[in-house]
């Protein structure tokens, strides 16, 4: 199982109260899956994504990534996990403005300690795959929204992660650019990359193989294989 969450809870303390953002989340994502998680804003989608992406710790429950329980990993272990097994695509691309497209894509390679020459070769290759071979030395403000998002995808895929996480990848794009990004995702999934994507756009979600819906911190799906039904009685008995 590439990703599995077992009864995951996430609370945020807010002054004297505690906000229960996520409640008994269960999800099982297999290798090669393409999952869309839908839901209105404020339902906890992004919080769930942060947990999967090892950017935050679960309050309760178990998080398994690539068959390993990472719930109690140290900060360094989580950093390495993000570096090697997870690729992030953010809604607003998050490219560094003062760096060229090539340098932005090189960043994770530099973190992994790849030699400079190999970094440039691999980043060039990655940008070629997203169709930006003629934009290597452009800075983000010289690129269109769709191009920026494609640079971000090239960056997310540069360390050949097992799992690609996308948080509203088309949220800030016009429909044409959005379409090209979705085609790119399809291509990556066809090549074997597992994708988990957050969106509130049913059209975009329809491109995924499976769908789940987040509402008020509870995840549900018609697909029992993806989200096993929650057994409250068993929980209470336990």
């Amino acid at each position: 199982m590439i990703l599995e969450m077992k009864d995951v809870y996430k609370d945020f303390p807010q002054g004297d109260f505690t906000v229960n953002v996520l409640k008994h989340i269960n999800i099982r994502v297999k290798e090669g899956d393409y999952v869309a998680i839908m839901g209105p804003s404020g339902s906890g989608k992004t919080t769930m994504m942060n947990l999967i992406g090892c950017l935050d710790n679960v309050t309760k429950g178990t998080l398994i990534l690539d068959d390993e329980d990472v719930s109690s990993y140290t900060d360094n272990q989580l950093s390495d996990l993000r570096l090697n097994k997870i690729g992030f695509v953010f809604q607003n691309h998050e490219l560094l403005g003062q760096k060229t497209a090539l340098k932005n894509v090189c960043m994770p390679l530099a973190f992994a300690g790849v030699p400079k020459k190999e970094q440039i070769e691999r980043a060039t290759e990655a940008l070629k795959r997203v169709g930006l071979e003629d934009r290597l030395d452009f800075k983000p403000n010289q690129l269109s929204g769709g191009q920026k998002q494609r640079v971000a995808i090239a960056r997310a895929m540069i360390n050949r992660p097992r799992l690609l996480l996308a948080d509203e990848p088309t949220g800030a794009l016009d429909s044409a650019s959005g379409k090209s990004v979705m085609e790119l995702f399809q291509k990556l999934n066809d090549e074997g990359t597992t994708i988990v994507m957050i969106t509130h756009d049913a059209d975009i979600a329809s491109k995924a193989k499976r769908r789940a819906i987040m509402k008020d911190g509870i995840l549900s799906s018609e697909d029992a294989d993806l989200v096993p039904p929650y057994k409250e009685e068993a929980k209470d008995a336990g």
């Binding site: 993000r82 560094l96 360390n159």
Partner: protein, 416 residues
């Protein structure tokens, strides 16, 4: 590491004005310290050169009785042999010894006359054939002593210009006769220091040297010494070192060799090398202690500079929170973020240090032009300054960098 450096330089360059203003504190601090240290070193170099080396690096070894220089009466002190040829050879062959001379000496001599003229308070040396060379004297008129003068005990004399002016104010002294304690000596030449030096009186020794020059000095071959005084008088010595730093060492070793001449174990007599290096060091310490106060004051400027750096780095961390969050989410470890900001802060202050050194040297040169204090650029102090400014960057960059590294990635990404 190299990547961090490049990134740091880019970041500093992209905020040129801000970076420069931040560096200003470090620049002023380092510049003041360099200016002060250069002035101290200049003064110290001059003390060393004037007092110790006097340009010729001579160590003086004299016979002492207890605390005082031995005063020659008519009698030769007991239990003390003249320095033998073998001992002289050993001293001359010691490492770092350029040359050595052994001489007899009387000071405040009043019985040197030429006709009606009298040389009072003069200094009289009975010298060997190494004397002129060791003491860097040259004969500028007439001739020097030759081997025959020594073997035949010729009664000949060399005068310095003071003695010549007093004894022979209006005629050529060469070939004239002078009387030393009623013994006639023929003046064969006049001698002087190879290079003129201005008297710079900083110690009693200097005063004596200057005094000798003011009252006149007469040299005669040591072979003729017994004609006026007595046989086998103990000798003093000048030993010339190849370099000023070796003066103490050769002074001690030569002193030990000459000490062998004193046979009595319990003798009050003792050959003592004047350790001018030590004396100079004491004077330098005096100069240093006044100036080290100034260094403390300059250090306050550095401290203020460091706080400025910390302040700006904190601003920089806040400004770049999103960048930090992104890097962390892409898999950068905390250590990497820490290193990035530490490098930036260290590069910033090191640049300030380098600029400070340039400004400091310029300041030192200007100070020396105005006040006449010499400037000595000390390489170690430059190296230390750069290292120290780097340390300032690291120390004052630590707090902001730790703050950056400990940012939670999601909080950092969420921040606008």
């Amino acid at each position: 590491m190299r990547e961090n450096l490049v990134e740091a330089l880019q970041e500093i360059w992209s905020h040129k004005m801000r970076s420069f203003l931040t560096m200003l504190g470090v620049i002023i601090g380092i510049a003041s310290i360099i200016a002060i240290v250069s002035t101290i070193k200049g003064t110290n170099d001059r003390i060393m050169k004037d007092l110790v080396g006097r340009g010729n690096n001579n160590v003086s070894i004299k016979l002492y009785q207890g605390e005082w220089e031995y005063y020659f009466d008519t009698e030769v002190p007991p239990d003390i042999a003249p320095v033998s040829e073998e001992q002289e050879k050993r001293i001359r062959e010691t490492e770092h010894v350029e040359d050595a001379t052994f001489y007899n000496l009387r000071t405040y001599v009043n019985n040197i006359t030429a006709g009606t003229k009298n040389l009072s308070g003069a200094t009289l040396y009975g010298v060997d054939d190494h004397f002129l060379n060791t003491c860097c004297y040259v004969v500028y008129k007439g001739r020097s002593f030759v081997d025959l003068d020594y073997t035949n005990c010729n009664k000949v004399a060399l005068l310095d210009s003071t003695a010549a002016d007093i004894l022979f104010p209006d005629k050529n002294p060469i070939g004239q006769t002078i009387e030393i304690g009623s013994e006639p000596f023929i003046v064969v030449g006049l001698y002087q220091q190879k290079t003129e030096f201005e008297p710079n009186i900083q110690s009693l020794t200097d005063y004596e040297t200057y005094f000798q020059e003011a009252y006149g000095t007469v040299l005669i071959p040591d072979a003729t010494w017994p004609i006026i005084y007595s046989f086998d008088e103990p000798q003093n010595a000048f030993i010339r070192a190849d370099e000023t730093v070796n003066m103490s060492e050769i002074g001690k070793s030569s002193q030990t060799i000459m000490q062998e001449c004193i046979s009595a174990k319990e003798s009050e007599l003792k050959y003592t090398a004047q350790d001018l290096v030590e004396e100079a060091k004491q004077q330098q310490q005096l100069a240093n202690s006044t100036n080290s106060l100034l260094i403390w004051v300059a250090s306050i400027a550095l401290l203020v500079g460091g706080i400025g750096v910390m302040n700006i780095m904190l601003v920089s961390v806040t400004e770049r929170t999103r960048e930090i969050g992104l890097k962390r989410s892409l898999g950068a470890r905390k250590k990497r973020i820490l290193a990035q900001f530490l490098t930036e802060s260290a590069v910033l202050t090191s640049l300030g240090g380098v600029l400070g050194i340039v400004v400091g040297i310029v300041m030192a040169v200007i100070i020396s032009k105005i006040s006449g204090v010499p400037v000595g650029i000390s390489v170690p102090s430059i190296v230390i300054s750069v290292a120290f400014s780097m340390v300032i960057g690291i120390v004052f960059g630590l707090l902001p960098s730790i703050k950056a590294a400990n940012l939670s990635p999601i909080d950092a990404l969420r921040r606008e």
